[in-house]
């Protein structure tokens, strides 16, 4: 009888597991290690099926070496010699270790790593979960319980029961109870009472995972069990549907903040100055490429600063794109004030030139802009998952908005900008250098677009086409919000974002976008000056 075949008999597994666990937990030092030569030989076959079987065997073998081997496999450090007979080693820095004794081997042979695929990865998760259920570290036990709950591996049940009987930490205990319930629900031969208790445990979780487990109740379960599951499922679904609305609003705010970032620079160049600036998107793109260059320099010279790369990139992107903006204004746009069509064509041409310049310099392919660690991952708020990246972008968009508002309201240059846009000749006669103010205003708008590029590099492709995908949305937001009004841009961006995300689940992404466009067009027909129309004499100028 081969080892895996022996494993398939549940009684034996139980026995092996119990001895194993006692061995590890109570007197791991004295008891002799179990013979794991059979699974080790299986691992050298480098066949996914064999690897999976070997992992199952290792998980319940009780060998003190098992955890190390499983971890090495997960890290791609488990290697085998290609000669005959094949031998298994753990790769360490500069040496090959024997997997059981962990002693370096003399005269290391040529080796290849044992390959893993998704099936093996799942088996690794389950095995390392089972193995660390009795770890002395509560955090590890918690992770293990979660891993077992995910894998729902029936073979882990005996180990789980044993661990549960010893567990003192309340949090770990509840996680283990949940893991046990998850396994028991789907297992054949569980009594009805056990199942219903398990359903109650799982149902109390109330999340998507719980739904998945509850739906896996076998078809041959008794009606009482099915009823309990159905009640629990409908309760969770009702609850989740409410959370889904909140989640969609959150997505909408997040999309709105992206729109706001993309449009806010245009709110200056188009909204305040009246320049139909088709090169606005390219300013965003230049900002994103600035981020890329900053990150490359940091990677080369000081990798420790990587987490700060975006913060460093923000002022640089502002200065760089602002400078480009001033150059464009001084060399092209200032000759075209008051001639809308020419400005449109000229800035369109500039946008093509900038795109192709970047394509020549950096190549047509996407560039990788990494996410700093504080922008990666997500957390759960109730049953809503919030990703850190999106959260920071919303915060950032608000900061940019407030800073811009403050600049226009509270600084001298802001005052001059408003003066020039409201009445150019009067401002000039008060001694304001209107030419200079024009250049600064355009530079400010372009610089803000560059800052937006830093944020957008986190969620979109950094490619020469980056700007094109935002230019239409940006104009939409500014026109919808009301030309010349920053608050209008804010409200416009947020309402378009939320409306889009509320429509999307029903209409789909394509139709949702079309519907929104139609709504905005109809709205503009009704209110040509947008949500917040500027009142007074300034608009006549």
């Amino acid at each position: 009888m081969s080892f895996p075949a022996r494993l398939r008999s549940l009684g034996c597994t139980l026995l092996v597991a119990l001895t194993a666990l006692c061995a590890v937990a109570l007197n791991s030092g004295r008891v002799q290690a179990q013979d794991i030569s059979a699974p080790l030989a299986q691992l050298t076959q480098d066949n996914y099926g064999a690897t999976e079987a070997a992992l199952g065997a290792l998980a319940v073998s009780g060998s003190p070496a098992a955890a190390g081997i499983v971890a090495a496999l997960a890290d791609g450090k488990l290697v085998y010699s290609t000669g005959t007979p094949r031998q298994l080693f753990i790769q360490a820095e500069g040496a090959l270790l024997d997997p059981v004794t962990l002693q370096p081997v003399t005269d290391p042979p040529a080796v290849k790593p044992v390959r893993v695929n998704n099936r093996v990865r799942r088996a690794v998760e389950a095995a390392s979960g089972t193995l660390s259920l009795v770890s002395p570290d509560p955090a590890k036990r918690l992770d293990a319980a979660v891993a077992v709950a995910r894998s729902r591996d029936a073979a882990a049940l005996p180990a789980l029961d044993l661990a549960l009987s010893k567990e003192s930490d309340a949090k770990v205990k509840s996680a283990m109870t949940l893991a046990r319930a998850s396994i028991v629900i789907g297992q054949a031969g569980t009594s009805d009472a056990d199942r219903i208790a398990a359903i109650a445990t799982v149902g109390a979780e109330g999340n998507q995972d719980a739904l998945a487990i509850l739906r896996s109740v076998p078809a041959d379960a008794s009606p009482a069990v099915k009823d309990a599951a159905a009640t629990a499922i409908s309760g969770i679904e009702r609850n989740l549907a409410m959370w889904a609305v909140a989640q969609n609003v959150w997505y909408g705010l997040s999309l709105g903040s992206v729109l706001l970032l993309a449009a806010i620079g245009l709110a200056i160049t188009f909204g305040v100055m009246g320049v139909i600036n088709m090169a606005h998107g390219e300013m965003v793109m230049l900002g994103a490429y600035t981020t890329f260059v900053v990150q490359e320099l940091i990677r080369t010279y000081n990798p420790g600063l990587f987490d700060l790369s975006l913060i460093i990139a923000v002022p640089l992107a502002f200065l760089f794109t602002g400078l480009i903006g001033v150059i464009i204004e001084r060399t092209v746009i200032r000759f075209l004030y008051g001639r809308a069509l020419e400005t449109l064509l000229a800035t369109w041409g500039i946008s093509l030139i900038l795109q192709q310049a970047i394509r020549t310099l950096f190549g047509p392919t996407n560039r990788e802009v990494g996410a700093p660690s504080w922008m990666s991952g997500s957390f759960e708020l109730g049953h809503m998952s919030i990703t850190y990246g999106r959260l920071w972008i919303i915060v950032f968009a608000m900061l940019v908005f407030v800073a811009l508002l403050a600049t226009l309201r509270l600084t001298r240059i802001g005052l001059e900008m408003r003066a020039v846009t409201q009445n150019r000749r009067m401002a000039a006669s008060m001694g304001i250098r209107t030419n200079w103010v024009d250049a600064m205003t355009f530079g400010l708008g372009s610089g803000i677009a560059g800052i937006a590029g830093v944020a957008l590099s986190q969620i979109d492709n950094v490619s020469p086409n980056l700007g094109q995908s935002y230019i239409i949305d940006s104009f939409l937001v500014v026109v919808f919000g009301g030309v010349g009004n920053l608050w209008g841009t804010l409200v416009g961006a947020m309402s378009l974002g939320v409306a889009n995300k509320l429509l999307e689940p029903y209409a789909g992404a394509v139709l949702g976008k079309i519907a929104l466009l139609v709504i905005v067009i109809l709205f503009i027909q009704k209110r040509p000056r947008g949500l917040f129309a500027l009142k007074g004499r300034s608009i006549e100028a």
Binding site: T365, T387, N465, A509
Partner: protein, 435 residues
């Protein structure tokens, strides 16, 4: 900054010198002997430049290699490169320019199906040859076009089979960009899955616009769809550019390949070069070639390619291999026919067999498609693929899908006397639906 700019400038300089050398070589050769012109019709600017520029380089590389080996029919080859700028009508204009004005013997080009459809009438009218190197939706077979990319049964269906057999997938999300390739492929896949007993409620189909960048809702939907207690997978026909934000969102929302694997048909080594691949480890792609194919032919090719591009990090990908196969097939057919006359070369191409880069041979079949092995790869953390499955033999393309109502009775066979791209076996007439 300085470093990079000088590097870029050097590259630009080299490109210039290269181009000058090419024209010069062309000029000198023209005086000494006649050359055979080869047209390259790939976008070098606009949205598609991201994918197509590499294929232009590939053809230039193949031309250089062929000339070093003595050219074709004793003549040197000369590449004529035009830029259709991702503009579909411009493709037709540029194709006309290549064939009528430049008198090229063959054209290698197009990426999107719409660009292929746009140049088709030109190739028919002027009777020239187009090699099309990208996987596409099928439902076409034209006398003047040779398709060296995969038809749906050479990519999509084996990928689905792999997921069913190896991952036990029972629930399917078919996610794609909203245009003809994903729509047709998903139609075929839906019919195929249903024929395998998958229920309608276990299939979710989702389309997004080109360049879609806000994937929050859709990824959340996928997560929800995947929590029905059955193993779920995503089959992605999402077009190149939109993939980066899609995968980023998957990573952010914590969907790992061990939970819901994504198998993609448009994501290769080139696309992954722009993404941090650590969160993507284990997600899959189905192609007919991967850079990581471990055979001597491929190692040799990669070495030469990286020497040609003077960049030892330059990756190779599936459409490149298809371009290489198409180029070699054309060279063989011209040698066989002893002329570049399109009619003779078109006839000579059928049955030509050349080595592919995965250690076997690919043959041009009478339906103008080629035989290919299908490889399934899992993304590794270095942006390459770990090949987890390879079909034992070569697969013949089904240009007319047997799973679609309009096309299941159609076959294509360009050998005489049939010489038809859409022969209806039921009615016995040439000219079925879909054309």
């Amino acid at each position: 900054m300085l470093n990079m700019f000088t590097h870029a400038r050097r590259m630009a300089g080299r490109a210039l010198v290269g181009a000058a050398a090419l024209t010069l070589a062309g000029g000198v050769a023209a005086q000494a002997q006649e050359t055979i012109k080869v047209g390259v019709l790939h976008s070098l600017s606009g949205t598609m430049a991201i994918s197509e520029t590499t294929l232009k380089d590939t053809v230039l590389f193949m031309v250089q290699e062929q000339n070093a080996a003595g050219g074709v029919l004793g003549k040197k080859l000369e590449a004529v490169v035009v830029d259709p700028a991702s503009n579909w009508p411009l493709f037709a204009e540029k194709a006309r320019e290549l064939i009528a004005k430049e008198k090229v013997a063959v054209v290698f080009g197009c990426w999107t199906s719409v660009s292929r459809k746009s140049v088709l009438p030109v190739f028919k009218e002027l009777n020239s040859i187009l090699f099309y190197p990208v996987q596409y939706e099928g439902e076409e077979s034209e006398r003047n076009v040779f398709y060296t990319g995969a038809a749906p049964n050479q990519q999509a269906i084996p990928a689905v089979d792999y997921l069913m057999a190896n991952e036990g997938v029972q629930r399917w999300v078919l996610a794609g960009t909203d245009y003809v390739y994903p729509r047709t492929t998903n139609k075929i896949l839906e019919a195929y899955l249903k024929s395998k007993g998958v229920k309608a409620e276990d299939i979710m189909i989702n389309y997004t616009p080109f360049g879609h960048s806000d994937w929050q809702t859709i990824v959340a939907d996928i997560k929800k769809f995947g929590s029905a207690g059955k193993k779920t997978a995503v089959v992605s026909t999402i077009n190149g550019d939109a993939n980066v934000p899609f995968y980023k969102e998957l990573g952010n929302q914590g969907i790992k390949a061990t939970d819901i694997p994504v198998v993609a048909f448009s994501v290769g080594e080139e696309e992954l070069a722009g993404i941090d691949t650590k969160p993507l480890v284990g997600h899959l792609a189905a192609w007919n070639y991967f850079q990581s194919v471990d055979v001597p032919e491929n190692a040799e090719f990669i070495k030469k390619w990286q020497a040609f591009t003077k960049n030892d990090k330059r990756v190779t990908n599936d459409p490149m291999e298809a371009t290489v196969i198409g180029f070699n097939m054309w060279v063989d057919a011209v040698e066989k026919a002893g002329t570049t006359d399109p009619d003779k070369v078109i006839d000579a191409l059928i049955g030509v067999s050349v080595p592919n880069l995965s250690g076997g041979y690919s043959t041009m079949m009478p339906n103008h498609h080629i035989t290919k092995p299908v490889l399934i790869g899992e993304i590794k953390d270095d942006g390459q693929f770990d090949i987890v499955e390879q079909t034992p033999g070569l697969i013949v393309a089904e240009e007319w899908s047997p799973y679609l109502e309009g096309s299941k009775d159609l076959i294509a066979d360009w050998r005489k006397p049939l010489a038809c791209g859409n022969f209806n076996v039921k009615t016995g007439k040439c000219g079925g639906a879909g054309n």
